[in-house]
């Protein structure tokens, strides 16, 4: 029971005023950064990391952990209100969240996202406390061939994700993967497809691409409606909506649990994070639903799936980070640096030698998830109101400004800003041609995972008679092969598939 004792100690630790204030600060900063279009969780944690070097180990981790959790949640606000995912983990939230806002149910969508986020966050952290060391061993079973198939499996999600045209969805996905191959090859080391421009050597960053592909088309949408005050009208808020939504969300235990489990598992795997988890969870929700055709028209299930899963990823991501010292997501990589800076060596022994730090950290993030609800709701309400106050003609340059800040601050590189703008305007043209931003981003996320898995697998496979045999001789690979085939053929299983186009009908 020492774990529980330690946890109790951790909670007790939190009631030191300074730690509490840091947690509250982390939550507020995270909410602001997450909810502003263009500014991502990775950027937030990276920007604030240096100022935590002067704090104690547990204070620093509590602050960064709260910031991370709140940013992932806050990202849902801009996804719902502006159709621009605040972080890569909120891509799926735009699918149903924005249509809800368009119908005047933006507040309801925010409430749904809030409760789902809370559920996912607590689920992920509690699972971390119970299963961390055991799961870490399973995650190690994942070698390059497994990652290759995991990536392929991720791509097949497109078949249930792309609304309307599956073929174009896959072409879009492949274009995304192709974009990810620009720059230095992860294995082999050649500089590829840069056409001798040194600016391209850093490749296409995920955040600049995401910001461009999602925010710029939305800016253009505002240009088209430039004389209007707002894109949609928010309906009058009914009384008791908060309680009603809470009950509605909690009634969907199976949906919540499914999304949280998916998020947690994907979080545990090093290299895969919330950006993949939210889309997989969304497509799983579509698949399990009795009325898959309604997804994309603005139903709460879509928001629940993505928001519960992306917050569950946080706890999942801590598993390899804390037990193996292997950061799985970009944010975890920064947290790993924070631990090292504090002279802590992540690993199972951290739980025994510095249990105080580990448990204060987890207790802090649990408390932050709870605090995040009232702070977030107040913030989300304010943001929803503010957005309707600003005329579209000003909202457009403001978002443009934020996208520039967001894409610049990821690596302080001006060519990322150009890349963001180019992809953004190109993304608008592609959207008009029927290639949605979702699959392209998914391809960009999965590209490096698939490529490293494939080429590293081929290298490791040189021990065998035929190198490629390694991809079909490992049992874990077959799990993903079967899943991929099943997903790919999913539209065929569905007898009737009604074409839905993201609530765009006027």
């Amino acid at each position: 029971m020492s774990g529980l004792q330690n946890l109790a100690y951790g909670f007790a630790q939190l009631f030191i005023v300074k730690t509490l204030l840091l947690m509250l600060g982390g939550v507020s900063v995270g909410l602001v950064i997450g909810s502003l279009p263009g500014l991502s969780a990775t950027m937030g944690v990276a920007l604030f990391l240096p100022i935590t070097y002067w704090l104690s180990a547990s204070d620093s981790l509590v602050f960064l952990g709260s910031l991370y959790m709140a940013a992932i949640y806050g990202g849902s606000f801009s996804a719902i209100l502006l159709r621009t995912p605040g972080t890569p983990s909120n891509i799926g939230t735009t699918f149903d969240g924005y249509p809800m806002a368009k119908q005047g149910r933006g507040w309801e969508a925010i409430l749904t996202a809030t409760f789902a986020s809370l559920y996912g966050a607590l689920f992920g952290l509690i699972m971390f406390l119970i299963f961390a060391p055991m799961l870490a061993r399973i995650a190690l079973k994942f070698g390059p061939p497994e990652y290759f198939w995991l990536g392929i499996f991720g791509l097949t999600v497109i078949s249930s994700l792309s609304r309307g045209n599956t073929l174009k969805g896959f072409i879009g996905g492949l274009i995304g993967v192709l974009l990810s191959t620009i720059g230095v090859a992860p294995v082999g080391g050649n500089v590829r497809f840069t056409f001798n421009m040194p600016q391209l050597i850093g490749g296409v960053g995920l955040i600049p691409a995401l910001v461009g592909l999602f925010c710029i088309p939305q800016v253009i949408e505002m240009i088209l409606n430039r004389s209007k005050q707002q894109l949609y009208q928010e309906a009058k808020v009914q009384r008791g909506l908060v309680r009603k939504t809470f009950v509605n969300v909690m009634k969907r235990q199976i949906d919540l649990l499914r999304a949280s489990v998916i998020g947690f598992i994907i979080g545990v795997l090093p290299g895969a994070g919330g950006n993949i988890a939210n889309l997989v969870a969304y497509s799983e929700a579509v698949r399990a639903s009795k009325h898959p055709e309604k997804f994309g028209t603005g139903i709460p299930e879509g928001v629940i799936a993505t928001e519960a899963s992306n917050n569950a990823v946080v706890g999942g991501g801590f598993v390899p980070l804390m037990t193996l010292g292997v950061p799985g997501t970009p944010v975890d990589a920064i947290l790993y640096g924070a631990l090292l800076m504090q002279g802590l060596r992540p690993g199972v022994e951290l739980f025994t030698t510095r249990a105080d730090v580990v448990y204060t950290f987890i207790a802090g993030v649990i408390l932050a998830s709870l605090v995040m609800v009232p702070v977030g709701l107040a913030f989300g309400r304010g943001m929803a109101k503010l957005i309707t106050k600003i005329p579209l003609s000003l909202l457009a340059p403001t978002i443009l400004f934020l996208t520039m800040v967001g894409s610049y601050c990821v690596s302080n590189n001006i060519s990322d800003v150009y890349m963001m703008l180019i992809l953004g305007f190109l993304g608008f043209v592609l959207r008009k041609l029927g290639f949605e931003a979702g699959p392209i981003t998914l391809g960009l996320i999965l590209g490096p995972i698939i490529e490293s898995g494939l080429v590293q697998g081929l290298l490791i496979g040189r021990q065998l008679t035929q190198p490629w045999l390694i991809f079909i001789t490992r049992p874990l690979c077959w799990v993903f092969i079967v899943l991929s085939v099943f997903f790919l053929l999913w539209p065929v299983f569905l007898k009737k598939r009604i074409v839905v186009s993201g609530g765009e009908q006027k």
Partner: protein, 313 residues
């Protein structure tokens, strides 16, 4: 009137000269060409307080990541002001290998290194529970199995060339499996997906309870692994390290460079700093500007030869 204006202008000019003489008089920006929280950041953060004390001005650490450091180094030679108020962290062999590879916007010679202050030698490591205990065991294992796989960070990199050279000198069939960083290669070893790692001392020190080192690629034995022989002791001429240093933009005045050089050197002599660095697995090195230039030119010849040999692979 005109005369008066001229006098004022001259006075201003003289004032700027006076100010310029007393370097440093304002905050110095220390640019790290990798992500925050990485090894380059951590070493710079360890230097920061000591440098601030010696130079008497704040040191502001900023980040310019991308392309394995190439984005930052391109900026160093093309855009940074050569006034000594922006200094960059540099890495070897990165700044040699990237221009060799082509496609980057800077040349190795353009980078004016003023001090290499630490290095991380390559080490050959296997899992802690592996039956391989010595390098002889490793050779025996490799011969029995036919092919062994060694993971490492990046390609081309110090890790990859160390592996290639090891294979050449021993005649073993070693396949090098590059990972995107020294950290991401670790789970592949722990999960048994590769037979061993050609990694840096920092990793071996951080994961000392998960992997064991069987040979080190430095001139002499390392303090963390006193019982582990060097490759040279084993009759294999393999010395391979990654160095970290500080560089200034081309055209920086001599006196400014001397001040910075002396400051970094003084930090390196601080026992507190040395202890912190060694705890993390870094080897302290002292290459001043002249020695750095010599080191770079030596390594350039060495890597060029290796590069030509392995080009087709």
């Amino acid at each position: 009137m005109k005369v008066r204006v001229l006098v004022v202008l001259f006075a201003l000019l003289a004032l700027t000269f006076v100010l310029a003489e007393k370097y440093p008089s304002k905050p110095i920006t220390y640019v790290i060409c990798f992500a925050p929280g990485g090894e380059s950041d951590i070493t710079a953060r360890l230097q920061q307080p000591y440098l601030e004390k010696i130079l008497g001005v704040p040191i502001v650490i900023t980040y310019k990541e991308g392309g394995g450091g190439a984005v930052g180094w391109t900026e160093l030679v093309t855009r940074a002001k050569p006034d000594g108020y922006t200094i960059y962290g540099t890495n070897l062999p990165h700044t040699i290998l990237q221009p060799l590879q082509g496609g980057v916007g800077y040349k190795t010679e353009q980078i004016n290194n003023i001090y290499f202050f630490q290095s991380t030698p390559c080490v050959l490591a296997v899992r802690i529970d592996s039956p391989i205990n010595t390098f002889e065991d490793f050779v025996k294992y490799a011969k029995e199995k036919g092919v062994v796989t060694l993971g490492g960070s990046g390609q081309p990199s110090a890790n990859s060339f160390a592996t290639v050279r090891l294979a050449k000198l021993t005649g073993l069939n070693i396949v090098y499996v590059p990972f995107s960083g020294s950290g991401t290669a670790v789970p592949a070893l722990l999960g048994g997906h590769v037979d061993g790692l050609m990694t840096y001392t920092t990793m071996a020190v951080q994961y000392r309870d998960k992997m064991k080192v069987i040979a080190v690629a430095s001139e002499k034995r390392l303090p963390w692994f006193p019982d582990v022989p060097t490759f040279r002791e084993l009759g294999i001429d393999l010395v391979e390290k990654a160095y970290r240093g500080v560089a200034v933009p081309p055209g920086t005045p001599e006196d400014v460079k001397r001040v910075l050089e002396a400051a970094v050197k003084e930090v390196n002599n601080n026992p507190e700093f040395v202890a912190k660095m060694e705890e993390m697995g870094f080897v302290i090195e002292n290459y001043d500007e002249a020695a750095s230039a010599k080191l770079v030119s030596e390594l350039m010849a060495y890597y060029k030869e290796l590069w030509e040999e392995t080009k087709g692979k």
